[in-house]
Symmetry: none
Amino acid sequence: MVAEIICVGTELLLGDILNSNSQFLAKELASLGIPHYYQTVVGDNPDRIKQVLEIAVGRSQLLLFTGGLGPTPDDLTVETIADFFGVPLIERPEIIADIEQKFAQRGRTMSKSNRKQALIPEGAEILPNRTGSAPGIIWQPVPNVTVMTFPGVPAEMHLMWRETAVSYLQNNGWCSGTIYSRTLKFWGIAESALAEKVEGFLNLTNPTVAPYANHGEVKLRISAHAESEAVAKNLISPIEQQLRQIAGLDCYGADTDTLASTVGQLLLDRGENLSVAESCTGGGLGAMLTSIAGSSGYFWGGVISYDDRVKEKLLNVKPEDLTEFGAVSHQVAQQMAAGVRASLNTSWGLSITGIAGPGGGTDSKPVGLVYVGLAGPNDEIESFEYHFGDARTRDWIRNLSACTALDRLRRKILLAKVEKI
Amino acid sequence: MVAEIICVGTELLLGDILNSNSQFLAKELASLGIPHYYQTVVGDNPDRIKQVLEIAVGRSQLLLFTGGLGPTPDDLTVETIADFFGVPLIERPEIIADIEQKFAQRGRTMSKSNRKQALIPEGAEILPNRTGSAPGIIWQPVPNVTVMTFPGVPAEMHLMWRETAVSYLQNNGWCSGTIYSRTLKFWGIAESALAEKVEGFLNLTNPTVAPYANHGEVKLRISAHAESEAVAKNLISPIEQQLRQIAGLDCYGADTDTLASTVGQLLLDRGENLSVAESCTGGGLGAMLTSIAGSSGYFWGGVISYDDRVKEKLLNVKPEDLTEFGAVSHQVAQQMAAGVRASLNTSWGLSITGIAGPGGGTDSKPVGLVYVGLAGPNDEIESFEYHFGDARTRDWIRNLSACTALDRLRRKILLAKVEKI
């Protein structure tokens, strides 16, 4: 029982978009313990889609299609699959009703072209799409072949997979054992340094431990293959404990934890709250914090002081210090943090000021120079200097800045805890 | 003369990494005018690699392999290809010398396992790898089939492609003209509605026009195949003009334009500036605006008023209105926009207040309800109500909110322009 991923879309062949759907489905199949050996990309061309189907039917039993479910004439996936198996399309009134309702909610009328999305092969089940107009199908056109279709829009596809496809596969005997993974997340340590620290773990076979790095964050994925998730978790748990002990403060969480959620939990636990003052990140730190549902419990808001006049007016930064030291300096970072903390009356104030580039750098203040300021509950004020370098993109430097600021606050809180004990 | 991309690597089947190599090669092939119809991903398994080769040789003439060129036992690409064509591997001393030199430069000695990387099919040319230890090959094992191999590491692959592969393809008659694309971008219109408006264009053959949609943004890609980029642009230009005329204000830009860059350019052109007041987006609107280098020319900053106390203190929102109408209301959106505009003394003030979910919704104020407030240079104040629905994720609703706010300002400025004329 082998799956195969088939992504349909000329935009993939032209390189217009990155194929993140394959990666999503690949990860999901692995976690369900369903093997898959091939992924194919093909354009919006019925003859070539049929050739791909011919090959896939000969070597795989579960065919997962993404893309080509839209309302426009180049969206051909479902009709081509139906044609390949020689089965007619049937217009399903419940789909029309659903699309009409979705349009109505947004004060629009359904276009005629959307009727096409209600055509489903005879005998196929609808794979509901709660957020978009394109439903998928779950269909067994011949014995030993199950076809599922998903739209190419990643967010719609993810929801449909999680809400319907996974339980279908589990209930229909597709999942034999499971591959369960847990990913530990690190900030403030290089991948090579972490890999050396945990070298002995990298040769394990079950669970396996594998390092990954991406834009400053380092991860260790611990994966176990077992007959059930519970057994896999038991294999993973002692390894996780040992890795956490070795890594100490550099490990900030696991799986869906983010620096923002970890910091949020620490603040909630202590009944404290936070405000931010942002210059080069322009709101990115606040956006990161508020991406966590429930962040209103500890995040009060802040000031985006992109222009120096805003630093003076709303954060009480001294004009003479802006002149003498410049906006990107220890002095200004500290005054921003203290200023927002005082103005919003929060336990903590966290600030960022820096040069995100690509322009605006000088010899003494190059692109990538960033200061983080931190004002705390005991009126203590600190600041930290970082050199992220001019080889990184603007967005990368801004993201590193926001993550680093959160990590500073995390370490400060955790070290204060240790001192109290 | 058709190319095919074959990516080898079990890590791709496990979803551990995103397949950016396919996208890179797809773009490059398009710009060289070399068509390709299929992309395949296969694991580090000789039998399956051979099956993929069998299929590819039957339908394509240029096979581009990435991955599986490393020194470890699971790197099997080159030996499997040689085996498939029944050709022996030959150790090439110039490769050994090159690898030894690279190790020496880093003060290291070459590992025994690296000798494997010097094995090349008899008759194949070396495709040099300047930055890594794994060379590729350029090989015509049988008439009408050319094989190129590249390592999976994107940076190495890109250099090898640009430094050697491209000129090989150009000098050997592979490049017949070029495929050039331009993408028009739209906000505020559904894909189906836009497709109906431009229906007559969707059947063109050169250039082609194809619609795409993702998270509220709709795109039309105009692609032309011609002997040169200049000729392709001449084919595209009149179509672009006609499409822009039909779409009117719904088209906000093209290619690398974003709503933030488009709004920024409009403000720059008019010598105006902007401040923002954000509740549910928590800084995301400011982050979007400041992702544009040079945004300090028109964006002054703003207030993240996540907590109602911040709305009162820094934005002058009336406490009695917060009580009577709630934080998510026309009244508060308007006062936030007017408040930040007054406080920061900018031409425009733009605000967002809403319920991003997943919690916090009520019957009268459901998740997905968002108000955008806009205060302008003539002290005019407006607000707009949106229902993004509770089926979307928190991040999705926040992103839609920020984009919609920018689009509101864009339309306001453009309509004001028209009125002035």
